[in-house]
């Protein structure tokens, strides 16, 4: 009696349709688009990324190249033409560096540090969080107590101490930021993985002879990713801000490798002599970057929040 079977099947409440990856992405984008502020912020980030990584192409001068710097060009006001024959739109600094070029290059350093510190912290955090949630027991107690202790300390203090110990330089700063920030990822991973671990599909996967790493990475990890994406955006912004703060305090990068922080720090010395352009413009670039990333992160959080799903 095939009719009856068909009837019975129809009576079963239909499961929500399984979305393909492309569909999920499209839905995500149409939700994201609802906030024009976030879309604007995303465009700003795109432009900033282009200007910073294309710095050698778009900037009028290479601020690293000491041969191109002329002391006679020092402290030119914004809009003055220098000895190079072009107009310094944002003026020049004490070494005759074109501020616009320095900002593009500085932005590149800031992005490199922020993105690599964020990515590495994400990896370390996932490893620690998954290990703790999956194995439980003493390992979990120990790992999560360390994470909690670190989270109670402000990241700036931890990073400051680490940079003081490791010394100056890009690699050292990235390392310090990873140590200071992985805990946020570890806690988020741990929390989400704990919830997922109690669900039936993990139980089912574990009852099969699948190796542990496969259960962890193929089954558990994809389901804890959404909250991690949100944390990652915020942490990249905060890594950029932290690096700027460290460089401003004099323990970050030297001025020969300009990041936005070291540019602002250099400009701060001339704050009383009416040479505002040395610090204002790199500061604005920093603020624009950090706020834009945060606005995008905020919208991603809203979209991925399960309470908002239709």
């Amino acid at each position: 009696m095939p009719e009856i079977i068909a009837e019975n099947i129809a009576a079963v409440p239909s499961a929500p349709p399984v979305e393909t990856r492309a569909e999920r992405l499209r839905n995500f984008w149409s939700d994201f688009r609802e906030s024009w502020v976030a879309v604007g912020a995303l465009i700003v980030i795109g432009v900033l990324l282009f200007l910073s990584f294309g710095a050698p192409l778009v900037s009028p001068q290479d601020p690293y190249d000491m041969a191109m710097l002329d002391w006679l060009d020092a402290f030119l006001r914004p809009g003055t033409e220098g000895s190079g024959g072009y107009v310094h739109l944002l003026g020049t600094d004490n070494a005759g560096r074109d501020m616009l070029s320095a900002i593009f290059y500085g932005l590149r350093t800031s992005f490199v540090i922020g993105l690599s510190a964020g990515a590495l912290a994400l990896l370390v955090g996932i490893a620690v969080g998954l290990t703790a949630a999956y194995f439980g027991g003493r390992i979990e107690a120990l790992l999560m107590r360390i994470v909690d202790l670190q989270l109670s300390m402000p990241a700036i203090l931890l990073a400051l101490v680490l940079v003081a110990m490791l010394g100056q330089g890009i690699v050292q700063i990235i390392l310090a930021l990873v140590v200071a920030q992985y805990a946020y990822f570890a806690r988020t991973t741990h929390g989400a993985a704990k919830v997922e671990r109690g669900k039936d599909y993990i139980e089912a996967a574990r009852s099969t002879p699948l190796p542990t790493h496969r259960v962890l990475f193929k089954h558990l990890l994809p389901n804890v990713l959404p909250p991690l994406i949100v944390v990652a955006t915020v942490q990249v912004a905060s890594a950029i801000a932290l690096e700027a703060t460290l460089s401003f305090l004099g323990v970050g990068l030297p001025l020969t490798e300009p990041s936005l922080g070291s540019l602002i720090s250099n400009g701060f010395k001339y704050i009383h002599s009416d040479r505002y352009w040395l610090s204002i413009y790199p500061g604005l670039a920093l603020m624009l970057t950090v706020v834009a990333i945060n606005l995008v992160g905020d919208q991603v959080r809203k979209v991925l929040d399960p309470r908002n799903s239709r």
């Binding site: 107690a141 909690d148 110990m165 323990v251 603020m287």
Partner: protein
């Protein structure tokens, strides 16, 4: 209950010891402070004499043991830059930091809570949205940059306020503080605002969230039905109920305020503990670094411990699962 308390306190002590070893080894790895402080023209003999005088020729384990013994005797060493005991140095700088933190907490609470109440009372008004946007700025824009803008605006351009340093002190009831003089206030107000912005953003968000939640509860509806004016409902009913989480967070924030003071004190050249630690890092003043870091670790472990113990007292579930 008692076993949970003992376990947690034992854990805290282990953490402090472990951190003291990490800090000591880490600071040891930075480099030899003698090379920084000594005149480059000094002879090898003078150099070796100085190294021996500070005990830097000893193995690391011996140095750590000496350090521990001294700590328990209340001696944290002598600053290599200022040449006075670290304990005296930190305590001489502490009042300035305390002033700054106190004024900034006052500002954060005095502005943040009313603004949060307003934003939660009329969540859809333009004013509320403006308040929330400002709180996002307080969170995300780096402290040092806002501090610089304040200096540029109010000190350099307008010339209303001094750009840095601590003002004249006066003694009142046996306490010496710059908060007793108008000059002192003119110096403290800008750094205090700078330091308060992050906490203010936090206060606004917490108060607003609590307010929005409370507005939908039965007790508010009944108070309204009773004919009480909104002003009375907000200030004598809602505020009392949402003040507990606010006070908790404020207490927890005390530690991070000390950390942010490092940045603010550097921007405004404020002679507090934060400026001291930055200077000691830049000048490799090892005893000051080690002592400050260990004091900070102890402070944070203590804050954590108190929070855990209080929560365990309030919520039995915590101590049932967390004893291990």
């Amino acid at each position: 209950m008692l076993s949970y308390f003992i376990t947690r306190i034992a854990q805290a002590i282990v953490v402090v010891f472990a951190m003291s070893v990490i800090v000591f080894v880490g600071v040891f790895a930075i480099g030899n402070p003698i090379d920084v402080m000594i005149d480059p023209g000094a002879t090898q003999a003078i150099r070796e004499k100085l190294i021996a005088q500070y005990g830097l020729d000893q193995p690391l384990v011996v140095q750590y043991w000496t350090f521990l013994r001294n700590v328990f005797a209340g001696d944290l060493g002598t600053s290599m830059v200022y040449n006075i005991p670290v304990v005296d140095l930190v305590f001489s700088r502490f009042p300035a930091t305390l002033e700054l933190v106190a004024v900034s907490v006052l500002i954060a609470v005095g502005v943040g809570i009313p603004a949060g109440l307003w934003a939660g009372y009329r969540p859809d008004s333009i004013g509320a949205k403006l308040v929330m946007a400002l709180s996002v700025l307080g969170f995300s824009v780096p402290t040092f940059w806002i501090g610089m803008l304040l200096i540029m605006g109010f000190a350099v351009e307008l010339g209303w306020l001094p750009s840095g340093g601590r003002g004249d002190e006066a003694t009142f009831l046996g306490v010496s503080s710059s908060l007793f003089t108008p000059d002192g206030w003119s110096h403290v107000i800008m750094p205090a605002i700078n330091l308060s912005l992050f906490k203010m953003g936090l206060m606004i968000r917490l108060t607003r969230a609590g307010m929005v939640e409370a507005m939908g509860t039965d007790y508010v509806k009944f108070a309204r039905a009773q004919g009480l004016p909104d002003r009375q409902i907000v200030f004598s009913h809602i505020l009392r109920n949402i003040s507990i989480p606010i006070v908790t967070v404020l207490g927890l924030e005390l530690g991070s305020t000390l950390a942010f003071a490092v940045v603010t004190e550097s921007v405004f050249n404020w002679p507090g503990v934060g400026k001291l630690i930055i200077d000691s890092i830049l000048q490799l003043d090892r005893p000051v670094m080690v002592s400050y870091l260990i004091m900070v670790v102890i402070l944070f472990v203590l804050i954590n411990l108190v929070v855990d113990l209080v929560y365990a007292r309030l919520d039995p579930r915590v101590r049932l699962k967390g004893g291990a």
